[in-house]
């Protein structure tokens, strides 16, 4: 059979289901040698599932996989690697205490039993020069930045002879500048005849880096277009299935009294390394302070300290003028602080409890839900009914276990709970991460409404677009320090990108507030 002979990879009619969802529904996708083919879609559209099928991690329920004109059955990633397919996962699979060369040598066939890393070191050097991927083979992985770790992952794939490279959301951990570097590398790989599959949900970067773009929605392919023949609006329409407004209407910010004042805050990570090194910031009522930064620069620890889940070493936290530096989580919550946690399933809900029981978490110990140690079910039910309606939580009923809800509805449940009772301060960590466009829009509107109602909001997000859209001021966090604060109206993406990479801004704008 001649079909599929030209393509580096051909996936035909791939179907893969998981409990309750068809993640891939008869998906067909092809990759030519020497091209960058982007796979675009929202979180949950089935992009990663499709690539895991190609990488041998999942077996498709139906469908065929062809590699360079040969039909193949992949039983494990080992088979995929032997066929010249390499994958760089969104979360790197490196052994942190080991060196770069050791990581590359791990599981590599043809290396000597003794000191495999030394042999690999030479090859590594040659490849990294050829593709412009500078790394020091002797450095330990934990010392490397996210961008450098990604280079190690790409080199790992290349050294295994990858003709086809799958990059799963490669820019999510990079600063804009690092992303630019990556795109240059992809250009060089193209020139060498490699095929690259580039998974993303960011329209701009897909348009700039890809030759062809395949858009997926709810497990199906919506269409494949050439990059030069399309634009952002058209792609967004394909991705979402309807017109998307890129600008939310936002009323002018009217900052009131200080909701949160943080002075010289220091804290450590779980491993005892410094996470926060002297953070000072303020959030007023009626404004949104966006906290930008590459993941892992202290965001998590800051949020935990502010919500009473981590003890600071030094510094002061005042909420509505009240010193709550080392207060318990309950006292901080009772003081009117809402917390939309980063890991919404791990922290935000109790999966086995019903929707209505989850809606009163954190408030279950106070009237009207609790009186003299007993729960007042009527009050709970009444509150739940209102919350489900107001926040449009899609649930079969108030007594359905929360674990049966979709991600977007779980987040709406958390918001409904946290924003009830008009909190003075809302700490929202990655509130729209992983949600579809519809839920994202709704949650952003809810946050803006809360701001208009007079809450101060600290918005922690990795999504720069989201921060630019929602925040009134933007502070950038880098290695536990604030690099600078800018007014959202005046900020440029480049400027913020530089701060995310550790460049300090000398003149602080809006700091006097």
């Amino acid at each position: 059979m001649a079909e599929g002979a030209r393509e580096a990879v051909l996936l035909r009619n791939i179907t893969k289901s998981f409990p309750g969802v068809v993640a891939n529904d008869r998906v067909t996708f092809d990759l030519q040698p020497g091209e960058v083919h982007a796979l675009l879609g929202e979180n949950g559209a089935g992009k990663t599932t499709l690539m895991n099928v190609l990488y041998g991690l999942y077996r498709p329920d139906e469908g065929e996989i062809w590699v360079r004109g040969r039909r193949v059955h992949l039983r494990s990633p080992r088979d995929a690697i032997d066929l010249g397919i390499g994958m760089v996962h969104q979360h790197f699979k490196l052994v942190a205490p080991h060196g770069v060369a050791e990581n590359v040598a791990l599981g590599l066939s043809g290396t000597p039993f003794w000191a495999p890393a030394r042999t690999v070191g030479r090859q590594l050097k040659e490849l990294s020069e050829r593709y412009g991927l500078p790394v020091d083979p002797d450095r330990r992985v934990w010392e490397l930045s996210a961008g450098e770790q990604q280079r190690v992952e790409i080199l790992k794939a290349l050294i295994r002879g990858a003709q086809v490279l799958i990059l799963d959301e490669p820019t999510s951990v990079l600063t804009p500048q690092e992303a630019g570097e990556l795109f240059k590398v992809l250009g060089r790989m193209k020139a060498e005849g490699h095929g690259v599959i580039f998974i993303s949900h960011k329209l701009d970067e897909v348009l700039s880096v890809a030759d062809r773009i395949t858009v997926m929605r709810r497990g199906r392919v919506v269409g494949t277009v050439r990059a030069e023949e399309t634009d952002k609006a058209a792609l967004a329409r394909m991705m979402v299935g309807r017109e998307v407004v890129f600008r939310l209407t936002k009323k002018a910010c009217q900052p009131g009294e200080a909701a949160l004042v943080v002075e010289d805050l220091h804290a450590r990570t779980d491993r005892g390394t410094p996470a926060l090194r002297g953070i000072s910031l303020a959030v007023c009522r009626g404004e949104i302070l966006g906290l930008a930064g590459v993941a892992g620069n202290g965001q998590r620890e800051l949020v935990e300290v502010l919500t009473g889940l981590r003890r600071p070493e030094r510094g002061r936290v005042a909420i509505l003028g009240q010193d709550l530096t080392r207060a318990s989580a309950r006292r901080i919550a009772d003081a009117g602080v809402a917390h939309v946690p980063e890991e919404r399933i791990r922290l935000g809900i109790v999966p086995g409890l019903s929707v209505e029981e989850n809606l009163i978490l954190k408030k279950h110990h106070r009237p009207p839900f609790c009186r003299a140690g007993g729960l007042r079910l009527a009050a709970v039910r009444q509150f739940a009914g209102r919350a489900i309606e107001e926040y449009r939580i899609m649930t079969p009923g108030p007594r359905t276990p929360a674990k049966l809800l979709s991600g977007g509805n779980i987040q709406k449940l958390i918001l409904a709970r946290e924003l009830s009772g008009n909190p003075a301060l809302v700490i929202a960590a990655h509130p729209t991460y992983g949600l579809d466009v519809g839920a994202t829009e709704q949650i952003r509107e809810i946050l803006l409404r809360q701001r208009e109602a007079g809450a101060g909001i600290l918005l922690v997000s990795e999504d720069l677009e989201e921060i630019m859209e929602l925040a009134d001021r933007i502070a950038v966090l880098f290695r536990g320090e604030i690099m600078g604060t800018v007014l959202a109206g005046e900020a440029t993406l480049e400027e913020i990108g530089l701060m995310m990479a550790g460049e300090r801004r000398t003149v602080a704008v809006g700091e006097e507030r």
């Binding site: 998981f18 989580a329 919550a333 029981e357 049966l404």
Partner: protein, 368 residues
């Protein structure tokens, strides 16, 4: 989703009540079938064995009363364990907590001077307290030092068993018992009344049934119950919500251990009227109660009924010894088989089997 020939296996996240009941019933049935093999290996016809057991336990007043008598300690321990299990605290220590209650009750019965009318209530109170203390120790060890509660509660059982052993051989050995390892007989004021014509010490039974209702209400209708369920299902969310893991766990264990100890009070005050060696006081009720609570899937009301089922097995054990000439230890085999098939059956509840043969049209479509 998995395909097995024409069958589809699908995961289900929340099994409906009927499935839980059906699967549990099936598991018990499978265990009884496996036990039939044991009978057969002993040279006893399984059909005869089961019909003897059915006639001897369910068919006579004496048999029925024996089931209830055996079920009383299982109800109390089982209800207490549902509380601990809902907090995801694996309390394997009901046996030791039961014995702690027996010791405290004996102390009050023999060595404390109180007016006769107050003696029994005081025995129950003292028993509850002793069990609570014995149970709260592993909870504190877990909270403060992260000691695994399975190990600590289990080891506490041995400690308490040897304390009882030492008491009945040493300081509390009854002068009137002519060298046997018993304490003296309890005074009449320390003996529980029985239902006439049976050996059912009804006050303990009443306390047990009441405890089941109260614990059920506690779990569903109170702040403490809510916090126990949150801590059990998602300790991280509990922390996030400002719920104190330490105090919730400690309270749950005070109640869990206290209830188990009441079972011990009932055994010494209602059955033996004295403290004797631990194997005779308890017959492993504390361990069997683990299966009782497990089979009840954490529901205190259901635990009353599963306790009756295991009461039946214990009663059957007596019967097998006398009429079939089998060792009483065969009840242990029964319990083990039931627990074994129950744990294995958990998997079944979370999978749905669907009949879905491959359609011929599908291959045609792939050619498009």
């Amino acid at each position: 989703m998995k395909r097995l020939g024409p069958l589809f296996l699908e995961r289900r996240l929340a099994p409906p009540r009927s499935v839980v009941f059906g699967v549990s019933f099936l598991a018990v049935l499978v265990a009884l079938l496996l036990a039939a093999l044991v009978f057969w290996a002993y040279g006893v016809s399984p059909v005869r064995a089961y019909s003897e057991i059915g006639r001897g336990t369910l068919g006579t007043v004496g048999g029925l009363s024996d089931i209830v008598r055996r079920a009383i300690p299982l109800i109390l321990c089982g209800v207490g364990l549902t509380l601990a299990f809902r907090a995801q605290f694996w309390n394997i220590g009901a046996e030791g907590q039961l014995l702690a209650g027996a010791v405290a009750a004996t102390g009050v019965a023999l060595f404390v001077r109180v007016p006769d009318g107050f003696r029994l209530p005081l025995m129950f109170l003292a028993g509850f307290g002793a069990g609570a203390v014995w149970a709260v120790v592993p909870a504190l060890l877990r909270v403060k030092l992260r000691v695994n509660e399975v190990i600590s509660t289990l080891m506490m059982n041995y400690i308490m068993a040897y304390i009882v052993e030492w008491l009945v051989h040493g300081p509390w050995k009854g002068p009137t018992m002519r060298g046997f390892a018993y304490t003296d007989m309890f005074p009449v004021s320390a003996r529980l009344p029985l239902i006439a014509g049976t050996r059912i010490h009804w006050p303990t039974l009443a306390v047990g049934v009441l405890a089941a209702v109260v614990v059920a209400l506690l779990l569903s209708r109170t702040r403490l119950g809510y916090e126990i369920r949150v801590v059990g299902q998602n300790p991280d969310a509990a922390r996030y919500a400002g719920i104190s893991f330490a105090s919730v766990l400690a309270l749950a264990m005070v109640l869990s251990g206290g209830l188990a100890a009441l079972a011990g009070v009932g055994e010494v005050a209602g059955v033996h009227w004295r403290l004797r060696s631990p194997g005779h006081v308890s017959m492993g009720y504390g361990y069997t109660a683990i299966i009782v609570a497990w089979l009840a899937r954490g529901s205190p009301i259901a635990a009353v009924f599963t306790a009756l089922l295991f009461g039946l097995i214990f009663a059957a054990g007596d019967l097998m010894k006398t009429t079939l000439g089998l060792p009483f230890q065969i009840t242990g085999v029964f319990n083990g088989l039931i627990l074994f098939s129950l744990i294995s059956s958990d998997l079944l509840m979370y999978w749905r089997v669907r009949w879905a043969p491959k359609e011929k049209a599908w291959t045609g479509q792939a050619g498009l």
